[in-house]
Subunit: 222 residues, 2 copies
DNA sequence: AACTTGCATATTGAATGCAATCCTCGAAAG
DNA sequence: CTTTCGAGGATTGCATTCAATATGCAAGTT
């Protein structure tokens, strides 16, 4: 039993809980792109009625994670290579902005946190532990976003990056590219330390653009 | 009458229609920020039941146009000055990206269209016709976004700029600022003509940042 | 044999009903 | 006179029901 003091009866609406749950299932790959979403099945699985489920599907559709086909149900969105490129162009720009703003607004505690995670990431890189590396990587990018002190930016970043989250495992992680990514992270961190927003933004943007290149193997025109 | 081949009997769901209608009402100021949205009243007004209306409200909440208070209904979102600044930072960055991409991808027809609207806008400027000027202004910004050839960017731009659309009339339009805005538009158009993305992006960003300044009278730190 | 055509079934879209929660307003206590 | 409490009504959240549309299959036609 949870303490009623720290857990204010945790009463999230079924609707909100369903949105969060489905979103995680999609971004984490439990529901694969292109797969049909049967209302009835999910209702049974979640133990809820169709009303909150359908509300959740509409919200996820507006986030671009699912597509609603009139009278034919919902599918998990599948991005084309061009759409993947388009999303990355946006993510790269948003993160550049986040880095630039973070240089203005970050405090020492947040910077120290990023440095600590960076060290852990470097260690995972040395040991070639991909999943752990990605986890640290994502923590750093999210920390930079938070440090930017712009809640809407964090929201937009999450919105677009959710669409391409699954793609990160598709990347062709050559040792050379991985080494370059680590160097880029060093530079980014350094720019943050110097509070050099004019440098930090472009560095982050280039970093993300390189990542896109590894994802598509250069198949998509910029 | 349209050909029955190309128009398969326009059938939009009540839900989608309601989203569009409510969104317009909010961005155009028919529903004022902070005002309560009574489900029942809108149902009667639209002649629909609560189900599609509630679905629409959830979607608009995910777009940030309304806030849902658990068991207490919906209100039209009211942005603080800081949130207005945050939104503008994002819009400025997105539009800079749009301008940069447009320089790569715009064709002559789209450029000619922008030039035509620009001339109309200049004429409205000379006659000091504010509403008409704004209309042209918005058409140009939307055209640049479309010319970027990134559907998700257009979508994100609309998402964030919808939140601040109403604010444009709050701007302190001094003659000096208005003249400067026109000069900036000239420069932006010129960069587009030259396909100079490296110049066009920053010009657009600066243009939007100046606009924010006129909105807040410099009250908000950058 | 392949292609329509019509009907039965399944699924989605929207409306209604019911229980839980919140707000109003007045009365009573301090 | 102000504040607290609570009953009644209104509103929301969710489940259920009804209606509209699509899918699948079988029979009939060419």
């Amino acid at each position: 039993m949870q303490s009623s003091k720290v857990m204010p009866i945790a009463r999230l609406s079924l609707h909100d809980e369903t949105v969060a749950r489905l979103r995680t299932m999609i971004t984490e790959g439990d529901l694969l792109p292109g797969s049909r979403i049967a209302e009835r099945e999910l209702c049974d699985r979640f133990g809820i009625s169709r009303t909150p489920l359908r509300e959740a599907l509409k919200v996820l559709a507006s986030e671009g994670l699912v597509e609603l086909l009139p009278h034919r149900g919902a599918r998990v969105t599948r991005l084309s290579e061009v759409e993947l490129r388009d999303a990355f162009e946006i993510v790269a720009t948003l993160e550049a902005l986040a880095g630039e703003l973070a240089c203005r607004r970050i405090d020492e505690a947040a910077l120290a946190h990023i440095e600590a995670v960076h060290l852990r990431m470097a260690e995972h890189y040395r040991r070639a532990e991909l999943a752990e590396y990605f986890a640290c990587n994502q923590i750093i990018h999210e920390a930079i976003n938070r440090a930017a002190g712009n809640a809407q930016l964090t929201e937009m970043y999450a919105l677009v990056s959710n669409r391409v989250r699954r793609a990160r495992y598709m990347a062709n992680h050559s040792p050379e590219r991985w080494a370059a990514a680590m160097r880029e992270h060093e530079e980014i961190l350094d720019a943050l330390r110097r509070r050099d927003g004019k440098a930090c933004g472009p560095l982050l943007r280039a970093h993300l653009e390189h990542k896109l290149y590894t994802l598509t193997d250069g198949n998509v025109a910029p």
